[in-house]
Symmetry: C2
Subunit: 336 residues, 2 copies
DNA sequence: GTCATACCCGTAAGCGCTTACCGTGCACGT
DNA sequence: ACGTGCACGGTAAGCGCTTACGGGTATGAC
């Protein structure tokens, strides 16, 4: 591999000049700079990231911690983060803190804390107190997206208000018997999100003087098939709700499919509303409370990059991302 | 940040001993080793990846190049890769070589070639000759998943045979008027995959003496909504096929939805078969040619890790991943 | 008692960069 | 003629590790 020495030798300058020339720093004449660039190109020289990082203390790398990569929210957030990073010439290190509890500690130590990143952005994760402390003691800019973590800046929608608005939409349409498909997600994920959404559901129901029936509080494990199963079960019993609020669009789609399974019309017999505005939502005509994880991810990355840029003092405040109602064809007034 | 010196001082040994002790190398007595470990823990010491990499030449990082992160195939492959990497204590650097053509060159130079990875695994990407050359001249183990690239080892299903088998399934059921939903994917993706699948479709049709009608060769851009649209259009014309082969499950689901849009029954009026065995396939009762990108990713990672381990001489051969038919409820004999 | 043999562990030379600091040479003002 | 300042670019000291090598001490064989 050709190193900076080779370039310096070939260009007849010192390695310091090569370094300056190639990175666009001042104190290099145009003539020298272009000569160095030419030589570097010819030799196919590319600076070693590790060496630069060691010498400068900046790795130009952002760590992104995700609980998985196979859910819509994370994908979108990842794409958003990536968009900002490439704009700033940063690279992305992906840490998949998957379910297995045992690995987690190892990954934490071996990878995340190994100073290979300048900043860290975590998606929808829950941290143990010890993990939180380690993260903070790392001392580099950190932000959390999708589920608040005490002591760390946060970007995300107002989960409770969003679920409340979803429920309110159904109530406004005239529904009085409304079920909720919530449910915990996998281990290690941020539990507050489903909890807050359920609280929002309760808020709206209670504010409207409607009963929250325990047998209509389902758990759909945040994905289509389980949701479809539990909703099917519920629809089989004597008394049925006229509408369903689901904590996510995937679960809402599961509910729609369950309605079809049971021979019910959507929205005629059953209205369904979700949260997310998932890729598939439009195809299913799903009414939903839209959020934009791409934008949330991009914003998170931008904030961290700003911190690293050091232009402005790091903002210490969390930001609440917007969510808004999109009415499609899965909700309508109930038929009495 | 505490460095190896701090630990050495605190433990009363040299930094060399700290290094050896912490990495489990021989030539350290048990007593010393455990003392060093204790001290390191107390100080919260974690070795700097950059420095280790620089000194040892191994970064313990694998680069993964993807065209996007928001498609099922890539997600699954990523998860598979991640599984193997964490087993080997490797980290993952994710390079999202998204659409924009301009960025690509930059990303290539700035990131991929910057020696921050020990090996590289690329998903479904097409490379320009110059890119290929640069990759190879990097000299580290490389493998491609999902679409063959000349001169680089490859893991993937036999695209042509798989599409042929899908088509054959319909033919065996008695279908004679069969449409194909294929279509290019985004820029920069490997074009051979859709092409080979279409060729497989043709193979089967011709072998059975069936006509391939140009107006029944659709392009669904590898996703649900576009596929739904073009299939809807086709179903509106006077003469309809009795069955559809789609190049992916997402497009197949689009076709199913289009059938419903047009008031047709699946599989009564229209049989649909896909390729992938996507997460949603089961929910839609979709018959499909299943492949396992998780396993393909895992295998790719394993091969590279083996190469790096240097135990066995690097295998130079590509491997053909299996695919197999899963019959569900979206295919049946045609009603004449 | 001597010498070879292990077994530990320290010494020091890098790995390939960045950057503070200093030394030129030249243009300019006086 | 001189000093002054500026624009360039070289020198060298790290950054925090890994690892070849060598030296010291205890152990065993003879």
């Amino acid at each position: 591999m050709t190193s900076i020495d080779d370039v310096a030798r070939a260009a007849g300058v010192s390695i310091a000049t090569v370094s300056r020339a190639l990175r666009g720093l001042p104190n290099v004449s145009d003539a020298t700079r272009s000569r160095v660039k030419t030589v570097a190109d010819e030799l196919g020289y590319v600076a070693s990231a590790g060496a630069s990082g060691l010498a400068s203390g900046r790795t130009l790398t952002m760590g992104v911690v995700v609980p998985s990569v196979s859910r819509w929210f994370y994908q979108m957030a990842l794409e958003g983060i990536d968009e900002e990073l490439r704009r700033a010439n940063y690279d992305m290190m992906l840490f998949n803190l998957a379910a297995r509890k045992g690995d987690r500690e190892r990954v934490f130590h071996r990878s995340i804390l190994r100073k290979r990143t300048d900043a860290l952005i975590a998606l929808c994760l829950e941290f143990t107190p010890s993990e939180r402390e380690q993260l903070l003691s790392l001392g580099h800019p950190t932000i959390v997206i999708g589920g608040p973590v005490k002591g760390i800046r946060h970007i995300g929608i107002d989960e409770r208000a969003t679920a409340r608005a979803a429920t309110q939409h159904l109530i406004t349409l005239g529904h009085r018997r409304i079920a909720h498909v919530g449910g915990d997600d996998d281990e290690g994920l941020n539990r507050r999100v489903p909890l807050d959404r359920r609280r929002g559901f309760r808020d709206a129901m209670e504010a409207a003087g409607l009963a929250v029936r325990p047998e209509w509080l389902l758990s759909g494990r945040f994905s289509l098939a389980p949701s479809r199963a539990v909703v099917n079960e519920m629809l089989a019993s004597a008394e049925r709700p006229t509408a369903i609020v689901a904590n996510s669009d995937e679960m809402a789609i599961g509910a729609i499919m369950a309605a079809h399974d049971s021979g019910l019309q959507v929205p005629g017999d059953l209205s369904v509303i979700g949260i997310d505005n998932h890729d598939l939502a439009e195809s299913f005509g799903l009414t939903t409370m839209a959020q934009d994880p791409f934008e949330q991810g991009a914003l998170g990355a931008r904030i961290l990059l700003d911190d690293l840029g050091g232009i402005v003092p790091p903002r210490r405040t969390s930001v609440t991302a917007p969510s808004h109602l999109i009415v499609r064809t899965s909700t309508a007034p109930p038929i009495h």
